[in-house]
């Protein structure tokens, strides 16, 4: 018989619980960090029609976040190397808690809730060595730090809670300078895709084929059939290999057979990935491009858009696309629809909360 915790986690993952309390924050469908016109940084709630639901100033540039599966609460992370995370209480609009990594650790911009929201896991690395750690926080007990575990690689980036209550980790493989973002080990980098159980303990590590070892696995989405879409950025010389792979914990990393010219057109760089049904969207702010693919690699949408990066599902088979010029698009089967344009530059990621 499933435990209550597992039951709640399943409910939350299938999205069948109402988002109680988000109405008090203006009923946002998504959250996104941004740089504002005056050069400051803020978090915004975005409604399904593109209107702003709320604004919360941030101390420095933000990156991504995670929605609590049950409570109207979300955690927003600083851009790496990150020194802060904010827990936002949507019902009151207040910052409910401020998290800082322990001495010698850095937040890497992403995190996820496990155990039906009882456990927050943060993507971290040791500043000196870039060794990946999963920071563990008791979300039900005022976000007390309760320890950390290995992430299974160097320089983890996105981590994502799966529908079955486990965790998938993109270990990017890139060691960076303790004080900035300088890359230190490109010739020898070894990215991997790791899976951890609901307690954060490693269960499986998938390594890419040798020719793809300079493709840093950085961003993740989950497909309805349980496969993980793993998106990469190419650090090698010459033409990039396929930068999107599909994976299962018990299988390997299978490159998606998209048209070969897509990867150089993305300038070897995917900045964000999202799934809507069995469609996968990828974005490249460097290539000024957003594409939607079927799982067999068929190109369904190919949109040239400068500085496009943030992606999220926006209804069946459609995506929200944000960019550095403040625009919000809904991109589905027809022509892209401009939802709104705000005087800010949207940051890399969109966090679904609706």
């Amino acid at each position: 018989m499933p435990t209550r915790r597992a039951f709640l986690a399943t409910l939350a993952a299938t999205g069948s619980l109402p988002a109680l309390g988000w109405a008090d924050a203006g009923s946002p469908a998504w959250l996104s960090c941004a740089r504002e016109a005056d050069g400051g940084f803020a978090l915004f709630g975005l409604r399904a029609d593109g209107a702003l639901a709320f604004r919360q100033p941030l101390p420095t540039r933000g990156h991504a976040g995670a929605r609590h599966p049950l409570r109207p609460e979300a955690v927003i992370f600083a851009r790496r190397p990150g020194a802060w995370a904010l827990v936002l209480d949507a019902a009151t609009g207040a910052v409910a808690a401020r998290l800082a990594p322990p001495a010698g650790h850095q937040f890497n911009g992403h995190g996820a809730f496990l155990q039906g929201g009882a456990l927050l896991v943060t993507s971290e690395q040791l500043a000196e060595t870039s060794e990946g750690r999963l920071g563990l926080w008791a979300a039900d007990e005022g976000y007390q730090r309760i320890g950390d575990l290995p992430s299974g690689g160097i320089g983890p980036h996105e981590i994502r809670a799966l529908a079955d209550g486990t965790l998938v980790i993109a270990n990017g493989g890139i060691a960076t300078d303790p004080t900035d973002r300088t890359k230190l080990n490109i010739p020898d980098m070894r990215p991997n895709l790791a899976f951890a159980d609901a307690e954060g303990r490693l269960r499986a590590v998938l390594e890419p084929a040798p020719e793809a070892r300079q493709a840093s696995i950085r961003h993740l989405a989950e497909l309805p059939d349980g496969r993980i879409a793993a998106a990469m950025q190419w650090e090698g010389e010459g033409p990039p290999p396929p930068l999107l792979a599909l994976a299962r914990p018990d299988g390997g990393l299978a490159p998606v057979a998209a048209p070969e010219a897509l990867w150089p057109a993305l300038q070897g760089y995917i900045g964000s990935v999202a799934a809507a049904g069995d469609r996968i969207a990828i974005s490249s702010p460097r290539g000024g491009r957003m594409a939607a693919l079927a799982t067999d690699g068929r190109l369904l949408v190919d949109l040239a858009r400068a500085d496009a990066c943030g992606l999220a599902a926006a209804g069946a088979g459609a995506f929200l696309v944000t960019d550095g010029s403040g625009a919000l698009f809904r991109v589905g089967d027809g022509p892209p629809l401009l939802l709104a344009r705000h005087p800010c530059a949207w940051d890399n990621h969109v966090v679904p909360v609706g």
């Binding site: 740089r35 010389e237 702010p285």
Partner: protein, 322 residues
């Protein structure tokens, strides 16, 4: 009734000077892509008829000149196309390796076979390796391979020019309903302005920066297409094209940028070896570093002079991704 045209004229006079994206496309970029297609078609014809270095020299140089005048553009159809037209930088020597392997076996004999053989064996950089190689013989397999590579290059150039006609229409239709790529005319202008700056960075950091290597250790073999004498001619042609594009785009004259372009060209003209193979000589290195600084000064001048005139800013996520 009579006051209406007068009011309109006043309005027009009061409107801020507009960046001329259409002029930049119609007078500089589209003719540039057409010229590249024409030059590569001529090179392919020449290579099919006569493989001697003497017969190929002029059409080969013309193809490079035409390429570097548009090769700095990285948006639209160019984004996925540039790598197989000029596979450079090539830090691992992939072109040399691919060429050795091809000549050791059964080299691609047609444009289609070249197109399937991978980017390192395609385009102008492959021709540099073939034509500039020590063992080049006009009657050998290198000749047939060069003709096939040239034919593939001409096909690529033709496809690129055709695709740019479509993308230029999209840029000129900026702000029209359904155009999500360019929501406003300013966005199309901004996209071209960004290409200008990227082109200057490529010239300074790659075309000059790679052979300059690290302090105290020049890397002349890293220069672009040095076997066939292209490094400095490529820089000269690229700067000329960037200046034309800047002037076409600008709402008014660009005196500071023009002066910076002239100084950069003078600095390049002072380089003693157009192949940049003399950079281990301290004097030559100093001159090359001076040229690099002059090119960076052009970028600064354009940023100060043209950027504000166009009212554009560089990308947010694209600059340092995460």
């Amino acid at each position: 009734m009579r006051s209406l045209p007068f009011a309109l004229a006043l309005l027009l006079a009061a409107a801020p000077a507009r960046a001329d994206t259409a002029r930049a496309l119609d007078a500089v970029l589209l003719p540039g892509f057409e010229r590249f297609a024409g030059a590569t078609a001529a090179l392919a014809r020449a290579a099919a008829a006569d493989c001697t270095p003497e017969a190929l020299r002029a059409p080969y140089d013309a193809a490079w000149d035409a390429w570097v005048r548009v090769g700095f553009v990285g948006i639209g159809p160019s984004a996925g196309a540039n790598l197989s037209i000029a596979f450079w930088p090539d830090a691992r020597g992939a072109t040399q390796k691919a060429l050795r392997e091809a000549l050791a076996g059964d080299p691609p004999a047609t444009a289609d076979e070249v197109a399937r053989s991978g980017a390192a064996l395609r385009g102008l950089t492959a021709l540099d390796a073939i034509l500039g190689g020590d063992g080049y013989r006009p009657e050998g397999p290198e000749c047939r391979l060069a003709a096939a590579v040239a034919a593939d290059l001409a096909a690529q150039a033709e496809a690129l020019a055709a695709a740019w006609t479509g993308h230029a229409a999209l840029m000129k239709a900026a702000g029209e309903p359904g155009n999500a790529t360019y929501l406003t005319p300013a966005e199309a202008t901004s996209a071209l302005y960004t290409q200008l700056l990227a082109g200057l960075e490529f010239a300074a950091d790659q075309r000059l920066g790679r052979p300059l290597g690290e302090a105290g250790r020049a890397r002349p073999a890293r220069a672009e297409a040095w076997r066939t004498g292209r490094p400095v001619p490529n820089l000269m042609a690229e700067l000329a094209a960037l200046q034309e594009l800047a002037l076409a785009l600008a709402p008014g004259p660009l005196p500071r940028s023009d002066a910076a372009f002239a100084e950069a060209r003078t600095a390049l003209a002072a380089l003693s070896d157009p192949t940049l193979q003399d950079l281990e000589d301290p004097q030559a290195r100093l001159r090359a570093e001076a040229a690099q600084q002059r090119i960076r000064a052009v970028r600064d001048a354009l940023t100060a002079e043209l950027g504000p005139a166009l009212g554009v800013t560089a990308g947010f996520n694209a600059l340092d991704g995460d």
